[in-house]
Amino acid sequence: MMTRYRFLAISVALAACACVAMLIAGCRDDGHSDTSAQFNFTTTSAVGYLRVDRMGLPAFATALISTANKDPFNQADPTDDAAGAFDADVLANLTALHNALDDDLTGLGLVPCAPASCITQLGGYLDSGDVLTIDPSQPSGFPNGRRLEDPVIDIVFALVLLDLGTHDIGTLASVSVNPPADDAPLLAEFPFLAPPQ
């Protein structure tokens, strides 16, 4: 009996060692296509997931969609934006922004857009919905796509606040209303983002 148990115990131990060895070997396989076997991922299709957030343009929904509409906005799709589902809300928020800030802009010698014409000015963006548009035949840089280093807020402010018939879209970015770059330098190579600091 003792011998039999001992044999069983040794067999189990050997099997366990083999398993661990295989796992370790699997871990060393980083970068190969078969590494998925070692991590356990959900297999539920995207249909089984409930939407939490969506985003394309920087600060667009944050600045121009009302708090009460933010969750409904996240649940909607760019095709809904393009169909005008949030146009009234965007216009109301644009108007509020201009009522508060136009005197300051004028004081700085800038020409604000009238809210209705701001909407026209934003038309190229609103018509596609809340998406980043990338024309690969043109150089990269917001609003043609968005690079990590682009001073997007100053550009968005110009888009929603200034008369772009008078001013260039880079007017505010050129004087750096906001910081012109991140405090942590980007990396030259992929993944480009700076390590945590």
């Binding site: 590494t35 959900t42 985003m55 708090t67 009522n99 548009t133 209303v177 600091q197």
Partner: protein
């Protein structure tokens, strides 16, 4: 009260009303998209902070950052969540309906280590997966998921003061995101594959998160 004074008072009321309206509309919104809605505030791991996407030398790059304005100076644990699907939608036909859906998820191995899996990456052959915090190469594509410095920069305090007062109050030496971390998902794709093989195609790209419903 003379006319001029009445005008001033009215202007003052209008300015206050404008500022109040702004406050009402905008105080829950933080920044690019960080913590912008009740549902996203309640679910940091699924809260998109920013979406970046650009083309360069035949590649298309996309970066999603999530869980912004929470983890600072590594004092708290980063948020990798195995029950969230992170999606990069790419429309290459001009109708704002996705033609390419890149599906990114996190998962653990038997040792409790976190990995990332990407399905549908343009240019990749099949699924790309591997550990987080490492660059994973597959053919012409690369994937990285890990904790990084939040690359977003913006004078958040100045923005809030501007909203509260109706007076432009920005300071370009203040970055409200300095020292904050994000969970970043970076993807390097083949541009032509993302364009569906049409070198003239213009792309529309957006990010999306969903939580497993059970």
């Amino acid at each position: 009260m003379n006319r001029f004074k009445v005008h001033l008072v009215l202007a003052g009321i209008a300015a206050v009303a404008g500022a109040a309206a702004l406050l009402l509309f905008l105080t829950d919104g933080y920044a690019a998209d960080h913590r912008e809605s009740p549902a996203t505030n309640a679910d940091a791991a699924a809260d998109l902070a920013d979406v970046y996407c650009w083309h360069e030398s035949g590649k298309l790059y996309a970066v999603l950052t999530v869980a912004g304005l929470i983890t600072q100076h590594l004092d708290t644990a980063p948020v990798f969540d195995t029950k969230i699907a992170y999606t990069v939608n790419i429309d290459n036909t001009g109708d704002s309906v996705p033609d390419v859906i890149v599906d990114v998820r996190f998962g653990k191995n038997i040792f409790g280590q976190m990995g990332v899996r990407v399905v549908g990456l343009p240019g990749a052959t099949g699924t790309v997966s591997g550990p987080v915090e490492q660059v994973i190469a597959s053919g012409p594509t690369r994937v990285f998921a890990g904790v990084r410095d939040d690359p977003f920069f913006f004078d958040l305090a100045g923005f809030r003061t501007t909203l509260a007062t109706g007076t432009l109050s920005f300071d370009n030496t203040r970055n409200g995101f300095a020292g904050f971390q994000v969970v970043a998902i970076a993807l390097e794709m083949d541009l032509l594959a993302a364009q569906g093989g049409d070198a003239g195609a213009i792309l529309r790209v957006w990010g999306e998160t969903g939580r497993l419903s059970n």
